[in-house]
Symmetry: C2
């Protein structure tokens, strides 16, 4: 039984309108900081954060709290609000803060609305590329204003076995909480035509067919919050292959997503 | 003795004007094929080529032959002209044909003029990013119209040891002509914060300071033709660490480039 069917199409359409407005606000906030000196902090996990990350998350929370006072919010930079609520907004204001600071264009804003743990609407927005992937449950996936499906990809996926173009995490992600370097080596050996971006731009590549599939390893809930719906609404496969609770960090997950055949090959290569 | 001092500054300035015109022509040719169906061929080495690659190389050769009838030309897609000439134009019309076909923006046009084997002027042009790095010997390196030097980088390189942001080749490049997978594993272990683009966009990142350094492994002369000058004119280091003649292919090289400290660390990690 798909419990998301309780939510009507017009509700989903309204949520989608909101999430696109939130993505617009995120872009506008980033724009307002352009050419300013960024204050960069290092978080307890070693990752970077700037005042832009915080400004975006504060602005998005403000809007959500006014419109949906009974919804929960969990964001990467601030403590959760109403963690028991059925509707949860999940925010990563800037995924790829290191890229953002360095001027690499691959950073993205991730926003999703989940209902009892399953995604209803979601967006990954890349301001530097003027590129936005958004999805609504049963509404499809859009890249800017174009509907995208697995069948519509310009480059028919997947590439021949051995030549698949997949986006993988850096070794850093496989050795962050445990030494799973062997998994990295197994994946790279199995798919030698890989690329590494280290941001949600890799998810966008899998959503749009610019690559055949993508993979994340031991990332937080924000990182994957938008991707499942974006992929599933294209007809692609999203598969969580590992989950673990890390003390002081929370639950981290590994997932593969994109062309179903290639996702299956990735899962086989990992075991 | 620096034999390139034989070439006057005004000659170099004139060559630079030409090379920027050639880069404009390459962009214009790419633009003229936008939204057309691409014919994709697989070359004998398994890499891809389209009619756009060929159209660019033909157009650039035409212009060079009219202006400099005694210069040599070597391009990735067509046979060399006057291989014994002192001046050699080196062309890679589309580096990253796979990205170009798939709609990934990282492809680039590489053009260089070498004098007795050493670079005089060079350019890497990324049409999809409206981003062009160009250099002239003793003229400096420019990113679009801004002069770039190691000291001018927004993000002061290098990052702390262990956190360096480096661009590396995919495993495919380490196992193309021999199994040098151990080198890939050594580099990834030594620099876990790596990214993989598989095109000259990685060189651009090293030139502009968007990353600390880059690395190529067993690539052809086209791939590296522009990079040495672009890097050296910023004050960075470009170091060829291996060369080999592969039958039916030609000479392939490995090189590291970017922040001098990080380049030195890369060379140490490889041995």
């Amino acid at each position: 039984v798909e419990f998301r069917n309780e939510i009507t199409k017009s509700q989903i359409t309204a949520f989608r309108r909101t999430i696109l407005e939130l993505a617009d606000e995120a872009r506008e906030t980033i724009r307002s900081f352009a050419h300013k000196n960024l204050l960069v902090d290092t978080k307890s996990d070693g990752s970077l954060v700037t005042q832009v990350d915080l400004a975006i998350e504060e602005r998005l929370r403000e809007i959500i709290l006014i419109r949906y006072p009974d919804h929960g919010i969990m964001g990467e930079e601030l403590p959760p609000i109403a963690p028991g609520a059925e509707f949860q907004w999940i925010l990563d204001p800037i995924d790829g803060t290191e890229e953002f600071i360095r001027g690499l264009p691959f950073f993205g804003t991730i926003i999703a609305l989940h209902f009892r743990g399953a995604p209803i609407v979601s967006v990954i927005d890349h301001r530097a590329f003027d590129l936005r992937c958004s999805a609504g449950f049963r509404l499809g996936t859009f890249c800017n204003d174009n509907k995208v499906t697995l069948a519509s990809y310009r480059f028919k996926s997947p590439s021949p076995r051995g030549g698949e173009n997949i986006i993988i995490p850096a070794l850093a992600d496989f050795v962050k909480y445990r030494d799973d370097a062997d998994k990295f080596y197994r994946i790279t050996r199995s798919f030698t035509n890989h690329r590494i971006f280290r941001t949600c731009y890799g998810h966008t590549c899998a959503v749009t067919g610019m690559c055949d599939a993508g993979l994340e390893y031991d990332v937080g809930p924000w990182d994957l919050a938008a991707t499942r719906l974006l992929i599933e609404e294209t007809g692609g496969k999203f598969s969580v292959f590992r989950q673990e609770r890390i003390p002081q960090v929370g639950v981290v997950s590994g997932a593969a997503f994109g062309n179903p055949t290639v996702v299956q090959e990735i899962l086989s290569a990992l075991c």
